[in-house]
């Protein structure tokens, strides 16, 4: 069964290929083919899941990819619990979002191309998680980057979309350099890039400790780029320029969690370097707070969700950084987050679909009655995210916070508190989003959309709400299903190590869930009170706000920092160097040519055209020659 696992990748890749080659001819059936390949892949993944029963770790080497003397990179797949978890998530959520997109993109004349890109993404993402070496992972890693670039820039005639796409690719590339350098280090010390060989080399002591830490931090840089973690988080909110299904699939459920996958996959490396892990947890903690704070200030529904994603991935990073035994918690939150965040984004897309593609929550309000199904599914996702008891987030997020408190010394306090404050803030901004969108006055009644039409909110078609409903069920049930009896941890134990509970909790372990719940409740109630239905919410964004809000609206000045540190000096340097090259380097060459030309211009004045002056110079020359000869002769 595992031997033909390449079909998993081949199916969506083939779909993408056919759709791209067929072009406009695929207009009628492109979306069906694109969806069919992913459905087949999902079915195959389910069969694979049941046939392996999760215990096998199998390497399937397909062919020799890059044979170069000592370095032999095989194109191979690794089937184990971790990769299967991701395969199920990717094909499952991917399948639902393909269905959703059939409805969402129905009016777009390039729908067939959209499905080609989606298929390309699914194929790349599967290579990323299935590859059995860091180079195959890198192939998928940049492949999903390409798909993400193409889909963010889907509305390519919008300059903002084109710029956002480019920004996403570039910031990812910065992270990719880290990943590449980590691979180079692994090759230098172990002579290989395969997971098995590298991890064996590490356990055999082939890699010096300093190099292990370096590898870990470089891998983390790669993870930060892909997962929108601090300091490379700025691209993710901009990526919301893409169509909403893309935001749901790529920028919420799957691709952006690849960084977490990378850390979990390299758990052998991270387990060997406490310093490296500390950096991972710090990055996670800082990011989760940044995401929460900024999320509170935005009025753009998709950007709030994007920052929520940034912050939730921060939780996952925090978890996988906490070290041996806790990797599984990060993955568990990742899967649960895949359900509820994808559901939330699809819900947001449904709202936008009914509201002339408007994203400003200030123009929404009171939509619960107009879109009951969207409201219910979105609401369930919301409850799962803020950790409402017995829904998904309650099990997965709380487990991470508990584990964070379980660290030794100051770390327990710092990371635990970051987690718990994050939980409160999450409840606040998500409740604010709910209140502004679904409750209160119907502010859209008095205004027109930017293209001058009236708003006529309506419920979406079944092809769109059925995937939302399925994801809502996942958001409700997945946490309990995974967590009860440590089912998920045991399933992943062969690949990421056995799970063990934290021991050093500074406050009673039993109190933590209550504390988290209390803070979340405070956050939610605060939001309900501020955005209570009776209160006026101005349609225009108030400009007279405190410095905290202003900073948050500016992404805590992350973009400004990038602009001043990288973009502007870069443009300036390019201009300066063009000048240097034209005037300096080329100028020297042209200057030499000009000097030669000028010199010969002077010399040619000697050619007067008078025969007698030539005769004189010949005579003079002869005398000189004779004189020279005589001198040599007689001296």
């Amino acid at each position: 069964m595992t031997a033909s696992s390449w079909l998993l990748v081949a199916l969506p890749a083939l779909g993408a290929l056919i759709l791209l080659l067929a072009g406009k001819r695929a207009k009628a059936w492109g979306h069906l083919l694109g969806t069919a390949t992913v459905v087949l892949a999902f079915v195959y993944a389910v069969i694979l899941f049941f046939s392996t029963a999760g215990n096998a770790t199998e390497n399937v080497n397909l062919y020799s990819w890059i044979p170069a003397g000592q370095l032999q990179v095989d194109f191979g797949l690794r089937i184990d619990a971790l990769s299967l978890t991701f395969v199920l998530l990717i094909t499952g959520v991917g399948m639902l979002i393909h269905f959703y997109s059939i409805g969402y993109m129905a009016d777009d004349e390039g729908r067939y191309r959209f499905f080609a890109y989606l298929n390309l993404f699914v194929a790349s993402m599967l290579i990323l998680v299935l590859g059995n070496s860091f180079v195959t992972l890198y192939l998928g890693w940049e492949g999903v980057g390409l798909a993400s670039y193409l889909l963010i820039g889907w509305y390519q005639n919008r300059p903002s979309a084109a710029t956002a796409a480019k920004k996403a690719f570039l910031m990812n590339r910065v992270g990719d350099v880290g990943l590449a350098l980590a691979i180079f280090l692994m090759f230098k010390y172990t002579g290989s890039t395969g997971y098995t060989q590298v991890f064996d080399g590490l356990t055999n002591g082939q890699i010096p400790p300093a190099a292990i830490t370096a590898i870990a931090i470089l891998l983390l840089l790669g993870a930060c780029g892909k997962s929108g973690q601090f300091p490379l988080q700025a691209w993710l909110p901009d990526a919301m320029e893409g169509p909403t299904p893309v935001s749901a699939l790529i920028h919420a459920a799957t691709m952006v969690t690849a960084g977490v996958y990378l850390v979990a996959r390299s758990n052998v490396i991270f387990s060997a370097t406490p310093d490296g892990r500390l950096v991972v947890t710090l990055v996670g903690a800082v990011t989760l707070l940044i995401g929460c704070i900024v999320g509170c200030a935005y009025d753009d529904i998709k950007k709030v969700l994007a920052y929520s994603t940034v912050s939730q991935i921060g939780y996952m990073m925090l978890a996988v950084g906490l070290g041996p035994g806790i990797y599984a918690l990060g993955i568990m939150h990742l899967v649960a987050h895949g359900f509820f965040k994808a559901g939330l984004f699809l819900g947001a897309g449904s709202v936008m679909h009914g509201m002339n593609d408007e994203v400003d929550m200030r123009k929404f309000g009171g939509l619960a009655k107009k879109m009951p199904i969207t409201f219910v599914t979105f609401g369930l996702g919301y409850l799962a995210l803020i950790g409402f008891p017995f829904l998904a987030g309650y099990y997965t997020k709380d487990a991470i916070i508990e584990a964070a408190f379980g660290q030794e010394g100051w770390r327990g306090w710092v990371f635990g508190l970051a987690g718990i404050i994050g939980a409160g803030l999450t409840a606040f901004y998500m409740t604010r989003l709910m209140m502004m969108t679904f409750f209160g006055k119907s502010r859209w009644k008095e205004i027109k959309s930017s293209d001058g039409r009236d708003f006529h909110p309506h419920e979406s078609k079944p092809i769109m709400w059925i995937p939302m409903a399925i994801l809502a069920i996942g958001s409700v049930g997945s946490g309990a299903f995974f967590a009860i009896g440590d089912r998920f941890e045991n399933w992943l134990a062969p690949t990421v190590g056995a799970y063990h509970e934290a021991e050093h909790a500074p406050i009673s372990a039993a109190a933590i869930p209550w504390l988290t719940l209390a803070l979340a409740l405070i956050g939610a109630l605060l939001a309900v009170w501020i955005f209570r239905p009776g209160r006026d919410i101005p349609v225009e964004r108030p400009q007279r706000v405190s410095w905290v809000v202003r900073a948050a609206r500016n992404d805590l000045y992350g973009n400004a920092l990038n602009e001043t540190l990288v973009a502007r000096p870069g443009t300036w340097l390019a201009r300066a160097l063009v000048y240097v090259d034209n005037r300096g380097v080329d100028g020297a060459v042209n200057g030499l040519a000009a000097a030669l030309g000028g010199g010969s211009g002077r010399l040619r004045r000697l050619q007067t055209g008078f025969v007698r002056s030539y005769a004189l110079s010949m005579l003079g020359g002869t005398f000189l020659l004779l004189a020279a000869l005589l001198l040599v002769r007689f001296s």
């Binding site: 044979p67 003397g69 390519q156 979309a161 796409a165 090759f187």
Partner: protein, 516 residues
Amino acid sequence: MTWLLALILLPLVGSLVLAFLKGNDRAAIATALVVSIVEFLLIIPFWASYSPSGARIQQATSMDWIPTFGIHISFGTDGISLIMIAVIALLVPIVVGALGLTDKLPAGRSAGGFLSLILLQEAITIGVFAATDVFLFYVLFEIMLIPMYFLIGGYGGANRQYAAVKFFLYSFLGGLIMLASAIGAYSLASDKLGHGTFDWATLVTVVRDAPTGTQIWLFLGFFLAFAIKAPLVPFHTWLPDAAGQAPIGVAVLLVGVLDKVGTFGFLRYCLPMFPEASKALAPLVLVLSVIGVIYGSILAAGQSDMKRFIAYVSIAHFGFISLGIFAFNEQAMIGSVSYMLNHSLSTGMLIVVVGLIVMRGGSTRISDYGGMAKVTPLLGGMLLIAGLSALSLPGTNSFVSEFLVLIGSFVTQPVYTIIATVGMVLAAAYVLWLYQRIMQGPVRGDALIGVGGGPGTAIAPELGAKKAIKDLGGREIAILAPMVILIIGLGFYPKPVLDTITPSVQATLSAVQGGK
């Protein structure tokens, strides 16, 4: 007669025939197409008859030329030459087929003359890669300039005379210095053996034992010629002018093939003949390479002209190639050799696509374009594929080479490699920025033929831009398809190429490391 000789003679004959077909453009194009395609098909038995595990130089033929000085006309091939010859044979049919699609001939010029020069260029360039006599190599190295000089100077853009003369003088100067070094090597050999020879295989064994001081001087002579050709910073300024002024097809050959003679020369002549000097001067070359990567990338981002943009992209890529050669590591050198092939493919495609864009828009200035992908989605896709290959996205051919260069260089030269990886980010920046400016954003009317609106006006697609410029036609797709297939195919299955070059690279490397 070996396949190799057939490969050299066929385009030569074709060139002669074409010279007499000046009046009839259609017949000339048809003849050139047939000759170049047959030439390409000849590659198949040529490659098949090469055995990677066999002798260092295969398919050798030799005859006396100037016996007094031990000069022979001798040809032969190793894996590296083979790959380069295959690239030429692949690119020439594309160049011939693209005539009229990527650029029009100047008024009053016949296709026969142009194509005759192209085929002559093909024959001489194959000869350069196949020559196994140092003097013959020198002669062909210089003769190679002549058709190129006329191709740029006779068929190029507005400033073609300046560019052609600059190209000629630069390369010729380098060649003369190389001649001095070659004569030096000859006299070393005649001192030692009692009779002089220019035979490469003999010279290698003799010169490598010379004292390091002597080697360094001789090395520098060869190195300068190749560094100008390759071009390494700071000997690069001829390339943007030459590539910017040359017609598209000629630019493909210039950047795709002629430049590779430089890096090929490093591998074939500099390293095995002067191992001690190579080792002693490697830091210098590495510094130049890394500067080339960064400097070329930044300058590419700063260009406002598409053709000059490609020239600077090439300069950055050549930085990677020479980094891999002078890192003296197996993977790095394999990477460099495959980079020579892959750069030809990706840059060749980039140039052809730019030619197609320029034919539609009538301008090489990037700022004259915008939003083209809306009107010509296929052309947009092609530019993106070529661009992604230029930025070495995994799954394209260039990734394999760049990855091998960097991973190998990292083992021996970590510092230079880390600096060079910055080039990866810069590559993404300049490629995507170019793509954004030409293909994305609002559709602009002023550069699109037959569409109204003054400079800088944005026009909506429904105003008829769709009618004004067409997307790719059948012939254009036929030209691009082989390159697309190879770019992606070699990205996923580079084994045939890597297996062919690996033994030759290992031989070169052991020649360096097995020095005194």
